[in-house]
């Protein structure tokens, strides 16, 4: 796509053209932002969806079972038709607190852009071997699952024939199946905890259906091989996920795939002075997905890692709409402000703050639990009063939970704090 006229000022600039950025941009335009610009570092829109050629996308949003590229395409077509500017193959180098962006590409060169509002939608990155500190040599053949996915699905190359996998994130599970279909032998998938990190449906469809062994409570304590990986030492783990000495066993392999979780990528956010939540690794946001910096919004995996793209779309629509409202000065900045607080068993809650006057129909709180909870309840309290109980058959850190709150209750009770905790049924 050619960028003919150089415009240096936009109502809303969206950073990232993946599912979050696409939905936010479309929604910002729909709700009255006059000029919207999406900045995407890759050569095409769609983000990581483009390498997710498996199905299972769109079940909530479209009530259809789509592949990643199909899901992305629906938004890309809508975006193209709505008069939104796209800058592809373009990197944002810096954002200042007064919403000045430094951008770089081969066709505009280096330039500054001024935005009235910014939506952060940069997504996340994968945790590496080094981030979890696996000792041993540093041979070729150790890939994060997403990198391997890019090589296979975007570039058409295989990464190895005899595969070991550490970690049970969703991308990893899907890659175990994908590599099997390409004729590789996936020897085992190891989970350091007693339960898998990804969705149960992926464990069933990607491992069980293909007879790939899932070894719970195991980890890798050493990588072996000088130039290309030749094997890994596998050990059992104790309750604290620490390897048990003496339980090591050698597994030969020519490839190690890592699926150890995702980390929101917030280097740009930090540069702009956006406050982050250590529990999510993403910005602290309010009901409108606005960050601690006025006029900077955030959505998708840059805020917290989602399991389903459908939820990313929902959240990003809210961010885009809010950014447009902000530009049109329709976003309320005062009034009752409630803090959310993760209680017992809850790792985090998004949003972190609620300005009640901006709520219309209902408020949805998204959260993850700290461990596996079979047959339990989520208890919501406004200050010390229980305002909602929700029965959950099975909660696991690998699956995001959510709960809806009626804004009227908040308006009536005007609590300072809204907390959620887990209660086991027998307690």
């Amino acid at each position: 796509m050619k960028e003919n006229s150089i415009v240096n000022r936009y109502d809303v600039v969206v950073i990232g053209g993946g599912p979050a950025g696409l939905a936010a941009a479309i929604e910002a335009k729909k709700h009255g932002a006059k000029s919207v610009c999406v900045i995407e570092r890759d050569k095409e829109l769609g983000g990581i969806l483009q390498q997710c050629i498996h199905n299972g996308f769109g079940l909530h949003i479209f009530k259809e079972d789509l592949t990643g590229p199909e899901y992305a395409e629906r938004f890309i077509i809508e975006l193209m038709e709505s008069g939104i500017t796209c800058k592809l193959d373009t990197m944002v180098l810096d954002i200042s607190e007064d919403l000045d962006l430094q951008i770089l590409n081969t066709y505009d060169g280096f330039m500054h852009i001024k935005a009235e509002a910014i939506v952060l939608a940069m997504g996340c990155r994968e945790r590496t071997r080094e981030a979890v500190n696996i000792p041993g040599t540093r041979p070729a053949g150790v890939f994060t699952a997403g990198t391997a996915q890019r090589f296979l699905n975007m570039e058409g190359y295989l990464v190895g024939k005899k595969i070991m996998m550490l970690g049970t994130g969703d991308i990893g599970l899907i890659m175990a199946r994908r590599l099997t279909l390409e004729g590789a032998e996936v020897r085992a998938v190891l989970a350091r905890r007693g339960y898998p990190g990804g969705l149960m449906r992926n464990v069933a469809q990607c491992l069980h259906d293909y007879d790939i062994p899932l070894m719970l409570r195991h980890t890798i304590v050493k990588i072996i091989g000088k130039e290309r990986i030749e094997g890994v030492l596998v050990a059992r783990t104790d309750e604290e996920r620490k390897p048990i000495p003496g339980s090591e066993e050698l597994y030969e392999c020519d490839t190690l795939l890592l699926s150890l979780g995702l980390i929101p990528e917030n280097e740009l956010s930090k540069g702009a002075g956006v406050k982050l939540d250590p529990a999510t690794g993403g910005p602290v946001v309010n009901e409108s997905m606005e960050t601690s910096v006025k006029g900077i919004f955030a959505c998708g995996n840059v805020v917290h890692v989602h399991d389903l793209v459908d939820y990313v779309t929902d959240e990003s629509r809210r961010a885009g709409k809010s950014a447009a409202y902000f530009v049109r000065k329709k976003l309320k900045e005062n009034g009752l402000l409630i803090k959310t607080e993760p209680g017992k068993g809850i790792k985090y809650i998004v949003p972190h703050l609620i300005r009640v006057d901006n709520l219309n129909k209902s408020l949805q709180l998204f959260m993850r639990v700290r461990e596996v909870y079979p047959n339990s309840r989520l208890i919501v309290k406004a200050d010390n009063e229980v305002i909602k109980k929700s029965r959950k058959m099975h909660m696991t850190p690998g699956e995001m939970d959510n709960i809806r709150i009626d804004p009227k209750i908040l308006q009536q009770r005007k609590p300072a704090i809204l907390s959620v905790q887990v209660k086991r049924e027998e307690e």
């Binding site: 060169g109 990155r125 540093r138 070729a140 570039e155 050493k222």
Partner: protein
């Protein structure tokens, strides 16, 4: 026949080759691996030591003191980042102050300038993030930091620009003395040279033994490190050592020249000269030791750990001499710490030794000491950025998002002399893959650029060594599916 064969393209071999390229000589720089700086040079602390550690009168003391002041001009000529940030040896107990004084006196004997012994309050003023227990310290402002592989790569490039022939993938297997020189057999081809300079690092004893009787051994002594994310380096303002002890010079804490915090090393004698594995229990010891220097080390921002091997000589001192048995064969061996600091002075000494045995050397008329700077886009000012991309649009594409490295920078270091041919070769030259994602996002793009620029297939691109293949084939095509 070559006039000179330099064996080993680490920091010593490249320094020697570049120094010799000032003269009208035909020089071969022979390296077993597929890139320069691939051994000890790529995995050490990167400190330009002030020079108070070594025993007065030793080669280590002499060449450290001579080498340190040479770095400003050398790095200026070669356009290599170098920062003289000074060093502190801190005392954590009152009895450590005796050691600090001992080092101070050694430094005086070695002729080290500007050293001072500081009390607690002065140390705290200089380094507010150190632990409260610090009693005092030795301050040596002439110490500095550098990326050792960047320097070796720059030296190799400048040497080859000045006519040195770099022979990669040539592992020396045998050396035979001829009447007027040497026949060097390698894994690739035979090389004849009048003089041989042995700069083979941990293998220097084996190379010596091919040409002369054994008279020293090199023992690999492993050290391990942590590297934290960029901008963590600001935790300390200088290189902070603990008092020397069993672990070598004492675990240090320093910013790298690129702003990463570097923590390590330990010291462990091994018998395997290729063993650069990291080990969990050793890293834990380093972590604990470093916590005595500063408690606020942000280990949660860790980018990687690594291990390197020191080439420790049985003589306990640098061996820089012509073989007594084999004339024309010069050993530069056992160059462990402070070898990086000593390298430029050692290179000058090698020229003196060569003149002593070969007679007068003729200076080359067209030696150019300057190396073209590698443009780092992020270090440019706004108007320079605009100008650069206008002239060369390939600088407008960011390949590495963690370190913001552009395609222009990558293409540049592939197409230079002694240029990169591997993914890690690119990483060491311009840093894609050095950051938080460790190459997860940029490695496929870096491979594409390498394949394009070198005219190779993607599948031929290796990570580091010749056997370190990354891709194992292509995915199934339509023809692979039944019914098609």
């Amino acid at each position: 026949m070559y006039d000179i064969a330099v064996i080993g393209a680490g920091i010593i071999g490249t320094s020697v080759a570049r120094e010799l390229s000032r003269y009208s000589l035909r020089i071969a720089l022979i390296e077993k691996d597929n890139d320069v700086a691939n051994g000890t040079t790529k995995a050490n602390s990167g400190i330009i030591h002030a020079g108070y550690d070594a025993k007065p009168g030793s080669n280590k003391a002499k060449y450290n003191a001579l080498g340190n002041p040479m770095f400003d001009e050398l790095c200026e000529e070669l356009a290599v980042p170098f920062k003289r940030i000074g060093s502190l040896v801190i005392a954590l107990e009152s009895y450590d102050m005796e050691k600090v004084e001992e080092l101070y006196n050694r430094g005086l004997a070695n002729g080290i300038p500007e050293m001072r012994i500081l009390g607690r309050s002065e140390v705290r003023k200089m380094e507010p993030n150190l632990n409260d227990e610090v009693v005092g310290a030795l301050h040596a402002p002439t110490a500095g930091i550098i990326d050792p592989w960047e320097l070796a790569i720059a030296l190799a490039e400048n040497a080859t620009e000045n006519g040195v022939e770099l022979l990669l993938n040539h592992r020396v297997t045998a050396i035979e003395k001829l009447t007027d020189g040497f026949d060097i057999r390698t894994s690739a081809s035979g090389i004849e040279a009048r003089y041989v300079i042995n700069c083979a690092g941990v293998y220097a004893d084996e190379i010596n033994n091919m040409a002369a009787a054994p008279y020293f051994q090199i023992t690999p002594r492993r050290g391990q490190y942590f590297v934290l994310d960029k901008n963590t380096g600001s935790l300390v303002n200088s290189v902070v050592f603990q008092c020397p002890g069993k672990m070598g010079k004492g675990v240090l804490l320093t910013s790298s020249v690129h702003g990463n915090l570097l923590i390590g090393p330990d010291s462990e004698v091994l018998d395997d000269k290729d063993n650069v594995e990291t080990a969990a229990h050793r890293l834990l010891l380093i972590k604990e030791a470093a916590a005595r220097t500063a408690t606020g080390i942000p280990f949660n921002t860790m980018i990687k750990t690594f291990a390197g091997l020191r080439a420790s000589p049985s003589t306990r001192d640098f061996i820089i001499e012509e073989s007594k048995e084999t004339a024309g064969f010069i050993n530069v061996a056992g160059i462990e710490s402070p070898g990086l600091t000593a390298a430029p002075a050692i290179a000058e000494e090698v020229v003196r030794l060569l003149k002593a045995t070969a007679g007068k050397l003729k200076k080359s008329d067209d030696f150019n000491p300057l190396r073209r700077k590698v443009i780092r886009f992020m270090e440019l000012k706004d108007h320079e950025r605009v100008e650069l991309v206008r002239k060369n649009p390939v600088y407008g594409r960011v390949i590495c998002r963690c370190e913001n490295v552009t395609e222009g920078e990558i293409v540049d270091v592939i197409n230079r002399k002694a240029g990169a041919t591997t993914v890690n070769g690119i990483k060491r030259r311009v840093r894609p893959g050095m950051g938080r994602c460790q190459g997860g996002f940029c490695a496929p793009k870096v491979m594409e650029i390498l394949a394009r620029e070198l005219g190779r297939d993607m599948q031929e691109i290796v990570n580091e060594g010749k056997e370190s293949y990354i891709l194992s084939g292509t995915t199934k095509g339509e023809q692979d599916y039944e019914g098609k």
